[in-house]
């Protein structure tokens, strides 16, 4: 970028690429007190690129038709296309790993208080990206048209029937049939490969733009001006990215280890049976990344309606974090908030417990454990206004930070 003359200068005169580069990369400063958890944002973009590239290759042989879909994946792509299996496993493992990276990225944002003012827009766009990514994963999971694909889609679309008044008609509208059928497959395919990725790109752009306006948070949650960061911090390019390349390399080792030696975790054996609408598998469960939310749905085992309300809340409550947590502490990081820290680690443990319970049959003791774990999930969100209140009192009496 330093070079003058030639193509770069020609472009700069017409597109001001030098200014753009400075704003986005070379003069975007990060504080020094960040840790390796801050590298997961760029990792999500790396995984997204991997998913798009592998997805385009799969697109060339996949057939979005109820009669052809299963064979186009399990025969054509897996057996006939040279290296087709690599791209399929990369895509399936990539989807799984995307959520691992996202959970860490989101968890870092919560623990260090990155959702708090002035970063609400970063948080909201990030939340929208999570919802879009979930929708993309859900629509994509139907495409191989195996038994688990089919019954996962059948079960989740049935949930919409519980919406008052319009529910039953809405389900038929979403499916384009009375059951999940060819129409459903083709429209899920269309959403999966065009509409949803396009929206993800748009919101990624807003997300990155917003983070460049308000700047990165840091480990201690100290508010810093741009000038302070410029003086004491590091530029995104080349210093931060130099470290990021190392993290990326380690990550890719892990990623390709999964792709080549451990891909089976992303391939459910039941999904190697073609979809059959007259035969329900005895045990239906989603992929691991939805298990926690799914367990909240099942956790209220005595009432379907409560379970559904809990399920919707469990997914959408995080959006309201900036307004649930109104603590006046100027240092927003959970590192300096003992009460918050306790609730946070309970929440993390609970999320893992829900994920494990989500795969177990919902009977006997597990049903009750699921119920308790579902309640604990909401305790974190319920505790935030209380913690904020206590911290407000502390600040008023001269304590706190």
């Amino acid at each position: 970028m330093e070079k003058k003359g030639g193509l770069m200068e020609w472009l700069d005169k017409r597109l001001a690429i030098e200014t753009l580069w400075k704003v986005m990369m070379a003069e975007y400063y990060l504080p020094k007190n960040i840790n390796f958890l801050w590298s997961f944002g760029v990792l999500t973009m790396l995984v997204f690129v991997i998913l798009v590239v592998s997805g385009i290759i799969l697109l060339m042989y996949y057939k979005p038709d109820a009669k052809m879909a299963f064979d186009s994946v399990n025969k054509t792509i897996m057996m006939d296309v040279a290296f087709g299996w690599v791209f399929r496993h990369v895509h399936a493992v990539g989807a799984s790993v995307m959520f691992l990276v996202l959970f860490i990225h989101i968890g870092r944002g919560i623990y260090y208080g990155s959702y708090k003012a002035p970063r609400e827009v970063v948080w909201i766009t990030g939340f929208i990206l999570f919802v879009l990514m979930s929708a993309t994963a859900f629509t994509g999971y139907l495409l191989p048209w195996g038994q688990m694909s089919y019954w996962a889609a059948q079960t989740i679309t049935t949930l919409f029937a519980k919406i008052p008044f319009i529910g039953p008609d809405l389900v038929i509208w979403i499916r384009g049939n009375y059951i999940v059928e060819d129409a459903t497959l083709t429209r899920f395919f269309a959403l999966h490969v065009t509409f949803l990725p396009a929206l993800i790109l748009v919101f990624t752009a807003i997300h990155l733009y917003a983070v460049r306006i308000v700047g990165s948070n840091n480990e201690d949650g100290i508010p810093m001006t741009k000038e302070e960061k410029k003086k004491n911090g590091i530029p995104f390019w080349p210093v931060f990215m130099a470290k990021e390349y190392f993290v990326m390399s380690v990550f890719l080792l892990f990623f390709f280890y999964l792709v080549f030696f451990n891909y089976k975790f992303a391939m459910d054996p039941i999904n190697f049976q073609p979809a059959n609408y007259l035969q329900t598998p005895p045990h239906i469960y989603p992929e691991w990344y939805f298990l926690a939310f799914y367990e909240v749905l099942r956790g209220f085992f005595f009432s379907e309606t409560l379970g559904l309300i809990g399920f919707v809340l469990s997914m959408f409550l995080p959006l309201f974090l900036p307004w649930l947590d109104t603590s006046p502490y100027p240092y927003v990081s959970g590192k300096h908030r003992p009460l918050f820290k306790i609730m946070w680690w309970i929440f993390v443990a609970d999320f893992i417990a829900l994920t494990i319970l989500g795969k177990l049959p919902p009977t006997g003791l597990f049903a009750w454990l699921g119920f308790v774990a579902s309640i604990v999930y909401f305790l974190f969100f319920a505790s935030l206004p209380i913690i904020s209140y206590i911290e407000k009192k502390k600040v008023a009496s001269g304590g706190g930070q």
Binding site: W173, G176, N177, Y178, I179, E181, A183, Y277, L278, T280
Partner: protein, 164 residues
Amino acid sequence: MAEEKVSRRDFLLYAMGGWAAVGLGGVLYAMYKTWEPLPEVKAAGIVRFDLSQVKPGELKVVQWRGKPVFVLRRTPDMGKCENRSIANEYTVVVGICTHLGCIPNWETDKKIFKCPCHGGEFDACGVNIFGPPPRPLEIPPFKLEGTTIVLGETGPEYEKMMKG
């Protein structure tokens, strides 16, 4: 307000905006309609079945909207089926367990529907009598035309059943 005059420029803006809103509404409506089930799917959603072809004590399975519908012609020893009886002697229910959606089997000797997944049992009326199912088997919307049952349309018999 009376004194405020809508300028020519404002008028044009409102007119254009309004017209664009109508256009957008039309486009959204058309997009909404494209997702509705196709005519052939809707037509296949209504199934006719002649009840008289079922012999007493026999169970027939009819496919309706991708679901199995059990048609059982009951014998007197199978009970009266309060408010669940169709044409006095038939049980017509969606053959999907109300627990987790498996398909129960009809056990002729015991005269019950037994679910292979979690052992739920339903009597000959389709009412849950044992195990985890929370509700009786669902009765599909139907209409009676003589001895023919039309699945997917609601007749007076069905409405009466749902009320009581």
